[in-house]
C-alpha cells in the first residue's frame, strides 16, 4: 500500500470516520513481516446522519487490547513464549502514554512545594495560577509525556514559559543514532524482527514524540533553550544537571516565584523538592478498559474533544506503522499511517506521515 504525504491537519480534514474500527500495528524491528498486532477497538458515536460534511470529527470511545489478548497474540511468535510478558507490558504502557499525550487520559499530577506534596488537582491548579505565569523547566520525561501541552490546555489563563535545557537535546541525539542504525539494518535485511527487540517501543517515542512536542510548543508558545551553566559543564549526572540548572536560572534572573521543574521521574521530583526546588510531577495513570474522547473541564466550563486522527498519528510515532481497519460487515476500508517514509526523508523534525487508504 503506497501512501500520500500528509500533515496532521491534512489527515484530519481528508479522513472522516464513523462506526467501529480496529487499531493494529506492525513494526519490522520486532515483528515478522506483515504481522499486525491489535491495539484496541474504536467505536464512534454515529448519531448524526450528515456526518460526512459538517462533522469532520466525531466523538468516540477506545477499548484498549487486554493484557490477556495481547499475551496470547505475542506468544504465538517464534520467540514469543520468552518475551511476550515484557512486550505486553511495554505495549500497554506505550498505549497509556499515547492516550495521555492526545488528552484522552488525565495524567497523574503531584505538586511538590514548600515541603509538602499536594495531590488534590484543584489545589494544584490554584497554586500554579497564583502568579499568573509558570516557568516550566522540563526534563525528557516531561516533554515525552506531553506535560507542557497538558498545562497549556488546563491553564489557559496563565502564561507558560517553557525552558528546555540544551542537554535534553543531547539525549535525543544519542537515541536517534541507535534507532536509525537499527532501522537501517532491518531495511538492509541484516536484522530480522524478533520480539526480544521490542524495547524499541520505549526508545522511539524518546525521539519521535519529543521532537513532535517541541515542534508544536515552538509553534504556539514561548520556548527557551537553556544552555548549561559553565560551572556545570562536565557534570555526568543528568538529574543533578537539571536540578542545578533550575537553581542557577532562579539565581541568575532573580526569580522567586513561579519556577517549576516538570518531570515524570518520581525520584528526581523527590530529590529536587528536598533541595527546595518546586517540582511538578506528571506521571502515567492506570490504563482503563474503556476511554472516551471527551473530557470535561469544570474550571473552564469546557468540553475537550480529542480527534481520532491525533491518536492514530501519535500511535504511529510510537509503533511505526498503524493500520486502522473498519470492522463493519461488508466494509473493508483501511487506512495505514507510516512513520518511516520517504516523505519524512529521515528528518525527525518533520511532521509528515505517509497515509495510505483503501
Amino acid at each position: 500500500m503506497s501512501g500520500n504525504r500528509s500533515t496532521l491537519p491534512d489527515f484530519i480534514a481528508t479522513h472522516r470516520f464513523g462506526d467501529k474500527w480496529a487499531v493494529e500495528y506492525t513494526d519490522p524491528t520486532h515483528l515478522p513481516p506483515d504481522k499486525y498486532v491489535g491495539l484496541g477497538v474504536v467505536s464512534f458515536a454515529s448519531t448524526v446522519p450528515d456526518t460526512d460534511v459538517d462533522y469532520p470529527i466525531l466523538p468516540f470511545t477506545f477499548e484498549p487490547v487486554t493484557a490477556e489478548g495481547l499475551g496470547t497474540t505475542l506468544k504465538s511468535l517464534d520467540d514469543g513464549p520468552k518475551h511476550a510478558g515484557r512486550a505486553t507490558k511495554l505495549i500497554r504502557d506505550q498505549l497509556t502514554e499515547s492516550l495521555v499525550r492526545v488528552g484522552m487520559l488525565r495524567p497523574v499530577v503531584r505538586l511538590l512545594m514548600d515541603h509538602e506534596i499536594i495531590t488534590a488537582f484543584p489545589e494544584i491548579l490554584s497554586r500554579l495560577t497564583k502568579h499568573r505565569y509558570v516557568i516550566a523547566v522540563v526534563d525528557t520525561s516531561a516533554v515525552r509525556s506531553g506535560a507542557v501541552s497538558y498545562l497549556h490546555h488546563v491553564l489557559q489563563d496563565v502564561v507558560i514559559w517553557t525552558v528546555v535545557p540544551v542537554f535534553l537535546m543531547t539525549e535525543v541525539q544519542n537515541k536517534v543514532k541507535s534507532l536509525n542504525d537499527k532501522w537501517r539494518k532491518i531495511e538492509d535485511g541484516d536484522d530480522k524482527g524478533k520480539l526480544q527487540q521490542c524495547d524499541v517501543l520505549r526508545n522511539r517515542p524518546s525521539v519521535s514524540c519529543i521532537a513532535a512536542e517541541l515542534r508544536q510548543l515552538h509553534a504556539w508558545s514561548p520556548v527557551e533553550l537553556l544552555t548549561t551553566p559553565p560551572e556545570l559543564l562536565g557534570q555526568p549526572n543528568v538529574d543533578r544537571l537539571i536540578i542545578e540548572s533550575v537553581k542557577h536560572l532562579k539565581r541568575e534572573r532573580g526569580l522567586h516565584h513561579g519556577v517549576y521543574l516538570v518531570t515524570g521521574d518520581k525520584d528526581m521530583a523527590s530529590v529536587a523538592s528536598l533541595e527546595n526546588v518546586n517540582t511538578l510531577f506528571v506521571g502515567d495513570p492506570t490504563l482503563p478498559t474503556r476511554i472516551s474522547s471527551l473530557r470535561y473541564d469544570s474550571r473552564q466550563g469546557a468540553v475537550w474533544m480529542s480527534p481520532i486522527h491525533a491518536l492514530l498519528w501519535d500511535l504511529a510515532q510510537v509503533f511505526s506503522t498503524i493500520r486502522f481497519r473498519c470492522l463493519t460487515d461488508g466494509d473493508d476500508r483501511r487506512v495505514e499511517l507510516q512513520y518511516y517514509c520517504a516523505s519524512r526523508d529521515g528528518f525527525i523534525a518533520s511532521d509528515l506521515m505517509e497515509v495510505a487508504g483503501v
Binding site: 496532521l8 491537519p9 491534512d10 484530519i12 480534514a13 481528508t14 458515536a45 448519531t47 448524526v48 460534511v53 459538517d54 462533522y55 469532520p56 470529527i57 466525531l58 466523538p59 492526545v102 488528552g103 484522552m104 488525565r106 495531590t119 488534590a120 488537582f121 484543584p122 501541552s149 490546555h153 508544536q216 510548543l217 509553534a219 504556539w220 472516551s292 471527551l294 473530557r295 470535561y296 473541564d297 469544570s298 466550563g301 469546557a302 468540553v303 475537550w304 474533544m305 480529542s306 480527534p307 491525533a310
Partner: protein
C-alpha cells in the same frame, strides 16, 4: 444541571459547577426529582449504567461546543481545511453528543478532582 460536591463527613460543599447542556429531565431515573444526592462512587457506578430517555419525541443528543485537544495552530488549520471541504466551521466545533457521554465526562472530572472518591458526595439539581 448543577453539580455540587460535598464532603461526606460534614456535608460541606467543596466545589460546584453547572453544565447547561445537561438536565435531570433527560434521565428517566431522575426526571421526577428536583434534587438527587448520592456518594460519589455510587454516582459513578450509576452513570455507567444509566438509561437515557427512550422517547421518540425527546432528542437523545445535544450539540455541544467543544475545544479540540490539539495544538492551537493545528486545530485552526484543521478547521480551515474542513471549511474548504464544505463543512460549516461552527458546526464542526459543535458535534452532537449523547447526554450519557457528556455525563460520563463530567463524572470522570469529579472523580479526578476529588480523591479519595469515597469521601465525597455528589448533589445534582436543575
Amino acid at each position: 444541571m448543577k453539580f455540587e460536591i460535598l464532603q461526606a463527613k460534614d456535608k460541606a460543599t467543596v466545589a460546584h459547577f453547572t453544565v447547561h447542556e445537561l438536565s435531570l429531565l433527560s434521565f428517566p431515573d431522575w426526571k421526577s426529582s428536583s434534587v438527587v444526592e448520592m456518594p460519589l462512587n455510587d454516582f459513578a457506578a450509576k452513570c455507567d449504567t444509566i438509561n437515557l430517555v427512550d422517547d421518540a419525541s425527546t432528542p437523545l443528543t445535544v450539540a455541544v461546543r467543544v475545544r479540540f485537544y490539539l495544538p492551537a495552530p493545528v486545530a485552526d488549520r484543521m478547521l480551515c481545511l474542513a471549511t474548504d471541504n464544505g463543512a460549516d466551521r461552527e458546526k464542526a466545533s459543535s458535534p452532537t453528543l449523547t447526554w450519557n457521554a457528556l455525563l460520563v465526562a463530567v463524572v470522570e472530572e469529579i472523580k479526578h478532582n476529588h480523591v479519595p472518591n469515597d469521601q465525597y458526595i455528589v448533589r445534582i439539581s436543575e
